[in-house]
Symmetry: C2
Subunit: 377 residues, 2 copies
DNA sequence: TTGTACGCGTTATCAG
DNA sequence: CTGATAACGCGTACAA
């Protein structure tokens, strides 16, 4: 017994030396030779659910272990036409502001047997370069948290490449999407704030007609109009901290006074707005001004902020995206589906959410519109 | 002329239909047939710097465009033994706290012609599963911002797989690393704080003997000891916001009084510490207590914090890691190199950095050690 | 259950 | 510069 073993191991050693000498990789043929079976037997041993006898399986696995053999995914994908790779296209911004998204998507895809080929976009214009790689690398499908043009989406269809858009929509085009209802979120927030008596709103929106911040603004504006409140002052923002301060300044300048509440298209802008209001303008938030954001990013929950905001169910959305994509891949389904989630309201403490106690006074008077010194403009 | 063109385009259409009917992909043979050249000619047209005549190139490119042909990377990598993919192994934590790192690495690798196969680790124990995939997918090299055991690294050597560790070291092992000198950072910070007269330190470190927070703590402790100051109180932390508050409580409890300064192993812990000190304990920072962190994450620069911290040159480090890896890949170099960067001090406003003005008083007395009410424990 | 023979789509070699 | 041919390493009918 021990003699047989040592023979196998010796053969393995000499075989490995030979392979190294020929400067090639260990293949299933090498394993087959060492195990004394055919190459197809080896192949079957590495295919889950194939029919192999216990004995051959053991032989093959031993030989494979001795040679450090691992199947070559490139060769496999050539014949199976499945790479078990999914491309993830994500903007830098998305990863900066929602770092947990990447981890969630990656986990969900891994759990479904897919590897992640990552493409980060510095500028939205890099999409073409990225797509060229996507076609070359024969990924099984794509999840995109980036803006694609209708032409891009058409190319996915032409190449029969499954695609799921994450938090992006495409007007008038049939495409799988997983989104949070940002318009609804905007409406919810406006409703809550209006119910608490806020009348004059300022809104720091996005800088792009299709951004989530813009949709949130649309929802808020819709609701505000429905309630017959004064038209809100809307200014653009670039999602970053600085935009919060700039936006607040612009709103005050445009209005000539303080609004009752500021709705920011994202938490980071809300935090920028909040810091500026409190520390530069010396305002009491929410006493003199309510500030709210969207996303419930980690810092929004820190003591210094405790922001009033809405949370997207990111883990659920990531799972939905992975599900949607993998079902399209596995069953070659070509129908499209849109899965829409709702955000969850987080009360926080930067917006007044109940009407001021003074009984008969109309809510409009609750937060007096303070005249600000010229200096702060 | 127009007749010829339309003929080519018609052939393309019928060819495409045929290919779709056979349910196979467009190959270089199809392009060759349509262009009326050999398959090798097509191949050469897609290889940069191959020798092809202008005429054939034009013919081939036209045919390729008509058929939407793109070379198959799997087939190519099978023969070239280069996948032009690099695996990036990163812990969730690293991506959560340094989201810009991923973008930087991705950009730098892309710029060097490599795609990124991403593996995120929920637990450090997932490494084995991830490595199995790494071997299968024939990546050209690996950048790991995660803890690898010496056995793991040995397997990289055995398989001749280029590896660069990012901000991780391995004792007594020859491996490429790109790191920031965290011990030096700890020393720098301790020096600056000691020079300003702080004597009694509290340190919120890591929870792992090899973490960056632990190295920073070691550096700080070394320097504090060299300066002959009282032994600092060291408590463990888990890198998150909550650990900052817990750590501060523990330090105060252990010391029975306030320390002069708290050194936190990361910014997020420093922010947690700061918020707790200011908003829960009602302390004046830096008046009664100095707080400093490491990393200069984005929130550390927000008005509410303006944290005293040290910045790692992440973009440079990412470029260095990509350089190191790609040179090992291209030139099959097997020597190892360690590239070490220094952090940059960010003054901020949460630590007193100049001695208190009172001339003859020893610095020790500068910040009186306030006795705290039992309640806060 | 096992082995034979073939093909996946490309690049590399070499003769013309 | 071009074309024929042989790999690359594996999965899978098919026959045994």
């Amino acid at each position: 017994m021990s003699k047989t073993n040592s023979t196998v191991e010796d053969s393995a050693t000499t075989l490995k030396a030979m392979i190294a000498g020929e400067n090639r990789r260990v293949t299933s043929y090498d394993v087959a030779q060492l195990a004394g079976v055919s190459q197809s037997a080896v192949s079957r041993c590495f295919k889950p659910g194939a029919s192999v006898s216990k004995a051959t399986y053991a032989l093959v696995m031993k030989a494979a272990a001795l040679l450090d053999y691992i199947p070559n995914a490139a060769a496999r994908s050539l014949i199976t036409r499945r790479s078990n790779m999914v491309a993830l296209i994500i903007t830098n911004q998305a990863n900066l502001y929602y770092p947990e998204l990447l981890a969630e998507l990656s986990q969900q895809l891994t759990a479904r047997g897919q590897r992640v080929l990552l493409f980060t976009l510095q500028h939205e214009g890099d999409v073409d370069r990225v797509l060229a790689d996507v076609w070359q690398y024969q990924v099984d499908g794509v999840i995109a948290a980036a803006r694609l043009t209708p032409e891009h989406v058409a190319e996915f269809e032409r190449r029969r490449m499954p695609l799921v858009l994450f938090n992006r929509k495409l007007r008038d085009q049939s495409v799988n999407t997983v989104t949070c209802d940002h318009v609804e979120s905007g409406r919810m927030l406006a409703s809550r704030l209006a119910a608490a008596g806020h009348r004059q709103f300022g809104i720091i929106a996005g800088n792009d007609p299709y951004s989530v911040a813009t949709e949130r603004q649309r929802g808020a504006c819709e609701r505000i109009a429905e309630l017959g409140l004064p038209a809100p002052v809307v200014v653009p923002g670039a999602y970053d901290y600085r935009s919060g301060a700039l936006g607040l300044k612009a709103i005050i300048a445009q209005l000539g006074s303080l609004p009752d509440a500021i709705i920011c298209g994202s938490d980071v802008m809300a935090i920028g707005c909040l810091d500026f209001a409190r520390h530069e303008l010396g305002l009491d938030v929410p006493g003199q001004l309510s500030v709210a954001g969207f996303d419930a990013v980690e810092p929004s929950n820190w003591i210094s902020y405790n922001l009033t905001t809405l949370r997207q169910p990111l883990p659920k959305m990531a799972a939905a995206a992975a599900d949607l994509l993998c079902s399209r891949i596995d069953r070659h389904e070509t129908d499209t589906e849109r899965r829409v989630f709702s955000a969850q309201f987080i009360e926080g403490a930067t917006a007044r959410l109940t009407p001021v106690a003074t009984s008969m006074t109309p809510p409009a008077m609750a937060t007096p519109s303070l005249r600000l010194p010229i200096a702060i403009m």
